[in-house]
């Protein structure tokens, strides 16, 4: 903008100039005796094409500017190649600094900035009905039906939910991770079939395959479209196949339950919805309708629906509307902002480091620059030249960083594809390239600015008079010291942030003694099809499964469990008669608790065939009975049962949440047994037992495949993938920051020692002990380090509360973490000072003095 305005002004001035020229020529012609009209024409004729002249002039402006720029760039490259060592270190430093920022930005871009890949993503909303008891915002099926029929604010509304399905493919029987959909799901997501068609809203016995399942289960044979396949014991038609790149982003909580990508889409039967299955609801607002209005409409509809057919809704808070991208990625946002800030810190440290080295070199280059200024380069031109050198360096570093970021992203996506929503969309695209270029140029200008400023202020003629020898200006060294202190301050903040997260991890993994999740293999079963519709058949299957698994070689203990929530249960400790609670009932076989290593604290274990008896874990005992001893007392489950034992709490599903309060009852007392988790404690390598277990269990009934076979350690780790992702990145940032700070201190101290060789020689000649020299050098370095550390600790104290939401059982101002980080930094600084201090101590006073 400013540039074009400047060019406009220049063009106006040029036009005036040419007009003046033509007027003079005309007057000359009149003086020669021409009539005025002809005089004007002759002047124009002689001048030639005015527009063309203006255009040619305009081209000169940009061409000269460009030519000088190219010249500066060439010069910058030459200077770089003259110091390959410096160039290599600087480029590597920048590659790390810029590469990390590029990687984080491309994640931020994919997750927060890029619109969802659907038609009109800006109109998509999530409609939730939050239930504080069970902490979910699912919608009751009947509500969805009523809204969809009566609401006016939407162009479409869809319900969906995760749906496991046992599918018999030509190759094998497998559990596919499916999504059951209803309403306008296809229209909202903009899905187009790659083969066949998408099933309609009234169809029941149809399935649409995702491309991966089509390839893996059906060998990508197009002829399977239209054929039938057995899903959960029923025969359904394969209506079509979705293209490879079709992916709809489902909520994060869903991915932590079902981390596998979606294999198939199934119709969600209207009967299920009407019977009260809870669903997730997305809708597309009509253009111009605001969320507030749409919410108000739903509130009205909700009241009317209740009047028409009253049903129990629990303590749900009423329908609320949220833009879909916010709902999907909102949870990842704080962490991403923290990572962005951390990336900026690392880059700033890198910039300070390079600025510090350039400052040292500027002292050496003063003479060269003074000469250039003396032969007429002009200060502005020299400064521009210096900036250009830095920018060339930064852009090369940025290019290397881009390569680094590419590799890092590929690794991140490979390691934890579900850590961040939409991570699979991440890549190096135009926006990311623009970001990297802008950051590179910005960084180059920043670290080029410091030495340029230093030169601007020094007297150039003085540099010439000074002769060949350049002394390290005390002011220059002080400035470098300041830069390095700044680096250390930033590194301290990063280190403390990473330390707090590391400690959170440590707290999460703080298992009770004896709990060894790596020795426990977990898997899931689902009993589907007509054969298992009745409970006796389900029980027979489970009994056979337990018999076979428990007697397999290498198995120490095995069991099944199936938990569900029960609402409206009173606790014996309730003070008012109307109180009720949601309880988590875990129908588990005795072997299950033993396989997990849950310890019995008091009382006795349950027998599998027992009835009317339950175990409580400690949290549940405290919640339900308060201070009263629960042993032998009755509790409603909702059938009354006697508490026969208390077991310890164990975090066996979520590492980053308190263990759930649970009531354990014998698995045969479960009201239904459609599916279960199987836990197997092994004496050997649990992961290696996976295939054998799979085979063993499919031997009972090949149409009922097991799925999610993994060690408990793996399952626990998968559930905290987002936290691991954050820790991994922040930890890397902190490590790089520490390394750069180390290099920074070392550089300044080594330079200072080299420059003071003579002074040190004099001191030693006058009787200074070597130890005193070491102490002097170390003291100089540690003064810088401690100043930076103090600033960093203060900064961290103010900043760490921003990552409080990412921590677990660790306070943002955790003193041990602060102390540990400070210790690590002091140790690093000591190390960085030690090497130059030792070389200072080895100075031979005779040599040092003769050297002059």
């Amino acid at each position: 903008m400013r540039l074009s305005r400047k060019i406009g002004r220049m063009l106006d001035s040029l036009e005036d100039d040419i007009r003046d020229h033509l007027e003079r020529e005309t007057r000359d012609n009149i003086a020669r005796g021409m009539p005025p009209g002809e005089a004007r024409h002759a002047a124009l004729r002689k001048f030639g094409n005015v527009t063309r002249a203006m255009e040619d002039t305009r081209e000169v402006w940009s061409r000269v500017w460009l030519a000088q720029l190219l010249q500066d760039m060439r010069y910058g490259l030459r200077i770089l190649f003259r110091n390959p060592g410096f160039a290599a270190v600087a480029i590597l430093t920048l590659a790390f600094g810029i590469g990390m920022n590029t990687a984080v930005f491309s994640v931020v871009h994919a997750v927060l900035l890029r619109p969802l890949a659907c038609p009109h993503p800006e109109r998509l909303v999530w409609i939730g009905d939050y239930d504080p008891n069970i902490k979910t915002s699912a919608v009751d099926g009947p509500d969805f039906c009523y809204w969809r029929e009566h609401a006016q604010s939407y162009t479409g509304m869809a319900a969906y939910g995760p749906q496991q399905a046992a599918m018999v493919t030509p190759k094998d029987a497998r559990q596919v991770s499916g999504v059951a959909i209803a309403g306008d799901f296809w229209a909202l997501t903009g899905a187009r079939p790659a083969l066949g068609r998408l099933f309609g809203p009234q169809e029941r016995d149809a399935v649409v395959l995702a491309w991966d399942l089509f390839e893996q289960g059906f060998a990508a044979d197009p002829l399977v479209v239209g054929r039938s396949v057995t899903v959960d014991g029923r025969s359904v038609t394969i209506a079509g196949v979705l293209p490879k790149d079709f992916r709809f982003q489902f909520p994060m909580w869903w991915q932590s339950l079902e981390p596998r990508p979606v294999d198939a889409y199934l119709p969600l039967p209207a009967k299920d919805i009407a019977m009260g299955r809870t669903v997730n609801v997305v809708a597309s607002l009509k253009p111009g309708i605001l969320a507030a209005r749409a919410t108000a409409e739903l509130d009205v509809l909700e009241k009317r629906a209740q009047e028409a057919s009253p049903h129990y809704r629990g303590p749900a808070t009423g329908p609320r509307i949220q833009p879909l991208p916010d709902y999907l990625t909102g949870a990842a946002r704080p962490a991403l902002f923290v990572l962005l800030a951390a990336g900026a810190f690392v880059l700033l440290i890198a910039v300070l480091n390079i600025a510090s080295v350039l400052l040292a070199r500027a002292t050496v280059r003063q003479r060269e620059i003074a000469i250039r200024a003396a032969v007429g380069a002009g200060r502005a031109r020299v400064v521009r030249q210096l900036l250009m050198e830095s920018i060339v360096l930064a852009v090369i570093g940025g290019a290397a960083g881009l390569a680094l970021a590419r590799g890092a992203l590929a690794m991140l996506i490979h390691l934890s594809p579900n850590a961040v929503p939409r991570l699979w969309e991440t890549g190096i695209n135009g926006s990311v390239l623009a970001f990297t270029l802008a950051v590179s140029i910005g960084a180059g200008m920043l670290f080029g600015f410091v030495p340029a400023l230093a030169l601007w202020r020094t007297s150039l003629s003085g540099a010439l008079k000074d002769g060949a020898r350049t002394s390290p200006g005390a002011a220059g060294l002080r400035l470098r010291g300041l830069l390095v202190s700044g680096e250390l301050a930033l590194a301290t903040v990063l280190l403390i942030g990473a330390g707090l997260m590391l400690k959170s991890f440590w707290r999460m993994y703080a298992h009770p003694p004896g709990f060894a999740p790596e020795n426990i293999l977990t898997m899931k079963i689902r009993l589907t099809g007509d054969r298992y519709s009745e409970k006796p058949a389900q029980e027979a299957y489970v009994r056979e499964l337990l018999r076979r698994v428990a007697s397999a070689p290498g198995v120490d203990a095995a069991g099944v469990s199936n938990w569900f929530l029960w609402d409206g249960v009173p606790f014996p400790s309730d003070t008012s008669p109307n109180q009720s609670h949601v309880i988590r009932l875990n129908a588990a076989s005795t072997g299950y608790l033993q396989a997990l290593g849950i310890r019995l604290l008091r009382g006795r274990w349950l027998g599998d065939a027992e009835s009317g008896a339950v175990l409580l874990n400690r949290s549940m005992a405290r919640q339900a009975f308060g201070a009263v001893d629960p042993l032998g007392r009755r509790i409603s489950t909702p059938a009354p049962a006697t508490v026969v034992g208390i077991v310890a709490d164990l975090k066996y599903s979520h590492l980053d949440a308190d263990p759930p309060a649970e009531i354990y009852l014998p698995y045969q007392q479960a009201p239904f047994f459609g599916g279960a988790s199987v836990a197997v404690r092994t004496s050997g390598d649990a992961a290696a037992m996976g295939p054998a277990m799979r085979k063993l269990i499919s031997g009972i009934d090949p149409t009922q495949p097991v799925y999610n076979v993994k060690t408990l350690a793996q399952a626990l780790s998968d559930a905290i993938a987002p936290r691991r992702f954050n820790l991994f990145l922040l930890g890397t940032f902190a490590a790089v920051a520490l390394l750069l700070a180390l290099v920074g201190i070392y550089g300044v101290i080594a330079y200072s020692v080299a420059a003071r060789t003579r002074e040190i020689g004099v001191r030693m000649a006058l009787g200074a002990q070597r130890r005193a020299v070491v102490r002097m050098v170390v003291r100089e370095g540690m003064a810088m380090a401690l100043a930076g550390l103090a600033a960093g600790l203060a900064g961290a104290w103010g900043l760490t509360h921003l990552i409080a939401s990412l921590l677990y059982e660790v306070k943002a101002g955790d003193p041990p973490t602060f102390a540990a980080a400070a210790g690590a930094l002091v140790a690093t600084a000591m190390l960085a000072c030690w090497v130059p201090a030792r070389s200072a101590a080895r100075v031979d006073p005779m040599v040092a003095l003769r050297y002059e």
Partner: protein, 120 residues
Amino acid sequence: MSTRNPESRVELLQGTLDVLILRTLLLGPAHGHAIVKAIERNSEEVLQVEQGSLYPALHRLIKRGWISAEEGNSENNRRAKYYRLTARGRRQLHVETAKWEKLARAIGRILRPGGEEAQP
């Protein structure tokens, strides 16, 4: 002021306009029209400046820092832009003049081989 037969006029060689402008401005600041007139007059009307290429050339020289432009008032109090030789431009003129003389001698040697060179 005589007007010569157009055939006897010579188009400027590429790149020579710059040095002629510098040479003209050595005498003092001038506006665009005056520069053209001076070149034509001093070459006894032999050199024909293509006026349209004067302004790109002036701006090229400004960009290189060899001349500078300033707004001033002309005879009858109208705004006009004056171009002035800078110190760098003065040095450049020496360099260009030396170059030009070398080139002219070399071309002369080729076009008139033999002894005639002795009398320039």
